[in-house]
Structures are given as structure tokens and as C-alpha cells.
Amino acid sequence: LVNQVWLDQAGLKKEKVLNRHMADIFPSIIEAGRLDVYKEVLRTGESRELQHCIHPGGKETWFNIRVFKVGEGLGLITRDITKEVTYRQRLETLHKHTVILQNADNEAEIVEKTFGILVDGLEYETVDIIKCEDGKLLDFHTTTPETFEIPITGPGITARACRLAESQLVQDTSKDPDYILGTHEARHRSELVVPVLIEGKVKLLINIESKKPYSLTLEDKKLVELLAGHIGSQLESLKLESERIRANLAEEMEEMKSKFMHTATHELRTPLTSMKGFLELAIDEDEPEVLQRYLDIVYRNTQRLEALTNDLLDQQRLEEGGLDINPVKVDLIKLVSAVVNDLEPILDKRDQRIQVTVPENVVILVDEMRFQEILFNLLDNASKYSPEGSTIWLSAKVCDGRLQVSVRDEGIGLSEEDISKLFKPFPDIDNPVVSDQSVGLGLSICKGIVELHEGEIWAESPGPGEGSTFFFTISEVDLD
């Protein structure tokens, strides 16, 4: 007995099969492994199953063969399981590929890898990954050359899938009222659209098309839905992660701002205290000499307050990118001499010496005032944090087309931790000689200005008590 379906599947004719030995038709039917199975079925009487693959016309076809005992002979029932086997194979391929998705750390990378899985792993010919954003569908990654932008309220199967947030499998697009016959899609006849959901909302859509109607199946739908689920959860966890990072950053910024405000307020109140107090005393003072002394103190503190408010303004402008520099060509020696002259009274008071080593005929392109400000700040710090009678070295050299300036002192030195905080506004320097009141915005502003000149600024120190050296570079240098 033999049925027609089996004959069709095996590509055989009935008259060529009946009354012939099975082994003549299918030599594989008596191959060693199989014979053992038959013998066992005959001996025990229990049925067994076998899987068998043939290639009629080059197409891979899988059969499940049920072997059972009939009287003293054997009966075989074969069933075409090609669909199940292919699905299982594709599922394995999918699982193997989804592992690579886990290493992706941004949306674009996930989409690109998904595209690869669909095209290379699952061998779909026409794949579109579409982004759903602000009520519009946009091409994200595609095998077709055309790009589009359509509203989700518009026609098309993709828009429908987006609206319903549900997969759409259309076996024959010519019968679907929503199908748009695009210039490029005229030949495509079966279409599968699977949405990728994040927190219940459609974020992406995977669109697969095939030239033949009924060639995309429920198995394809299951596979792509599985993949869409993976991508969805991957994108969701990325979103959560980036939200967490953003929240942390915002919190940090808030804390920094509040600390900045607190320190700035304290700094402003200090000169204000002296001004208010000595003015109060001055009002009731009749002695001209004493009065003069009080007013001198008030004046000095007004200057200090002015400098501090200027610093605060500079710091804010630097942070908001609103500080402009006006670079001009200036002679390095001229600039350095001016700063050293300004500094002399401060050095004299502390009996400190300065040794200057600066090359001649170097012209730099810098904002003159700002350059002097940086240099003055570094030298003033060197003096302030060094013992009386000590020496400060100021040197400049040109290397690799850049000017490098260094200021070395014999002062209190810096720990590695201090160096890392030094160029931030109002740093907490953990050094008993330095109160946090005397460390303000100076270095933070210096860093900002140096960076506006496309240079770098940094500090080095062998450790606390062993002096420190501050460096900065300027990139625009002319050598005569």
C-alpha cells in the first residue's frame, strides 16, 4: 500500500514503486543504522521513529518515519516535517545571534545588529527597520534604496501595525486594502510587520517582504516576534540605564551648585564684614588718623570684593561658554616683564626672589590681559604658599611648536588628591596651611582661559612640603 502524497513528496510514480523491493527504490532505507531499528521493532514489537532527509530536485525535505510491526512484517508511516525542522534550525540560528545583541550599548548598534541577524542569519531578502517617532514612521535601516517619512495615521500595513501595536502577517498583499504599491515594491507579494515595544509603546517596526505570496509563514512571524521581544527588552534596559546616569549627573550638578553658592556666599561675606564694621566705626570716629586707617581697610576690602565678583562672573561665563578672548601677537618677554614688575611688591614683602628664564624673540598669539592674569595668578600662588625668603622659578620654552611655561616654588607642595581637585572652583584642599577660604576660583579660571587658547594646564609636586610646579601651554607661537 502506498499513498499519493508520499509519492509526490518523494518525487516517485506509483507503478514504479508497487511490488518492488524498498531497498531498490531507496537504498538508504536499508543502511546499517536503520536495519538495527527494524530488527529491534520486529523483536520487541514496539514502534520507533526515525528522521530522514532527502533532496528531490535539490530542495531539502525532511521526513519523520514511524516504524511499527504488522504481523511478521513492518509498516512505515512517513510525514513531511520540513517546516518544523526548518523552524527549529532558524530558531537555533536566532538564539545564537541574539547573544551578540547583548553587547550592544546604544540604539543604533542594536538596530544594526538586528538588521544583520535578519539578513545574514535568517536570510530574509528585503528587510526594513523603521523608527516610530512623533507620530511618524521613518526609515532607520533598510535594504531598499528608497527612504520615506509617513504619518502613522496614513495608509500601509506598517502604519497599521504601528497603530494596533500588533504584528501583521499579510500572505497576499494584493488582497489587503491598506497595501500601498510603492515604486520599488511592485513585485513584493507577502509582507510581515512586527512592532518592537518599549514600555508598551511602539518604538521600532521590523518590516519583511517577500516576492512570492504565501512565502512568509506563521513560523516567520513567531521568529521575528521573538527577536523583537529581545530588542525591546534590550532597548528598555538601555533606556533605564541612561535615565539612571542622567539622574545621577543632575544630582551631582545640583550638589556642586549648592556647594559653589555656599562657598561663594561665604567668600562675599568676609570682605563685607570688614567693610560694614569699619564703616560703622568710621562714622563715630573723630580722630583723623584713625579714621584714615579705617577707610583704608574699607577700601582694601572693596577691592577684594570687586576682584571676587569679577572672578565669579568669569567663572560663570567660562561655564556657559560666554567668555570671549581677543588674541593678538605679543612679545613673550614684554608680557612676562610686565607681570614680574607687578609682582615685585608682593615678593619684596615676603623677602622672596624670582628667577626668570624666558627665550628671546618669541611672539605668541594670546589675549594679553588674560595671559598676564594666568601668569600673575600662578606666581602669586607660588609666593603665597611658600616660606619667606624662598625662591620662585619662572621659565618658558618652545617645544613641538608650543610654548610651555612653568612656575616652580619651594612651598607647601601638593598631594596627588589635591592635584586632582586643584583646578575646580573652590576646591577643598586638604592641607593645614591652606584654609578653604584662601583657595578660590583663581586656578579654575586659569584653566578655562588656557583651554580657550587651546592649551593645557597642570600641576606636579613630589608631595606635601616639597614644593610644586605649575605648567601651562600656548599653541600659537611664532619664532623669529
Binding site: M261, H262, T265, H266, R269, T270, L272, T273, S274, M275, K276, G277, F278, E280, L281, I297, R300, N301, P432, V433, V434, S435, D436, Q437
Partner: protein, 119 residues
């Protein structure tokens, strides 16, 4: 005559407090750091201490804590603050000072606070 010690790292503020209180008949000594202040307190009889929160080395808080846990735990202490978190820190029970003065202050506020504590 009551003896007052003022601790602040600002020479101008030290001079100010000294001038203001001396004109009211107090005897005023000054210190620029916490260590200096504690040494002075060890060797001298002081009736009242005025302490800035922000001083070099040892903070004003550390000085206050040391005094409160030492022999002179009953010494009246006035703390200079500059608003903000310092106030929160200072208001913790273990840090409690006898009075707080916010900078910038008026001479009247200073003198009234000091007199109030010395009576």
C-alpha cells in the same frame, strides 16, 4: 574686666572685633588658628570665646568640640557663621554654641550678644 579671645583667619576681622569690643571696655586677645586658640586657652583665663567656623587647619567646629569635652566645657562660645550648611552643622546638639552671629554683623549685635553671655 572680662577677657575675650577672638579666633578668625581674617586679620581685618580680628582688628574689627578687637576695636569694637575694646571700645566697650573688654580686654581682647586674638588668634588666627584653632591650634593657637587652644594653646592660649590652656595658659590664660578667658571669659568668652568668639570663633569663626572657617579657620585654617583645625575647623571652628573641631575647636568647639575640644572645648566642650575638656576642662573648660562651660566657657561661653559665640560662633561666626556665614549662613547655609554651616548653620545646619552647628545646630547639631553636640556642636551647640551659646550664640551665633551671622557675618556681616553690626556692632550693636556683637556687643549685646557678648554682654548677654557674660552677665
Amino acid at each position: 574686666m572680662s577677657v575675650i579671645l577672638v579666633v578668625d583667619d581674617e586679620p581685618d576681622v580680628l582688628l574689627l572685633v578687637k576695636t569694637q569690643l575694646e571700645s566697650e571696655g573688654f580686654q581682647v586677645y586674638t588668634a588666627e588658628s584653632g591650634r593657637e586658640a587652644l594653646e592660649f586657652l590652656d595658659k590664660n583665663k578667658v571669659d568668652l570665646l568668639i570663633l569663626d567656623v572657617v579657620i585654617p587647619g583645625m575647623s571652628g567646629l573641631d575647636v568647639l568640640r575640644k572645648i566642650r569635652s575638656g576642662e573648660k566645657s562651660g566657657l561661653p562660645v559665640v560662633v561666626f557663621t556665614a549662613l547655609g550648611r554651616e548653620v545646619d552643622m552647628m545646630l547639631k546638639p553636640e556642636n551647640e554654641a551659646d550664640a551665633y552671629l551671622r557675618k556681616p554683623y553690626t556692632k550693636e549685635e556683637l556687643v549685646e550678644t557678648v554682654r548677654g553671655l557674660l552677665e
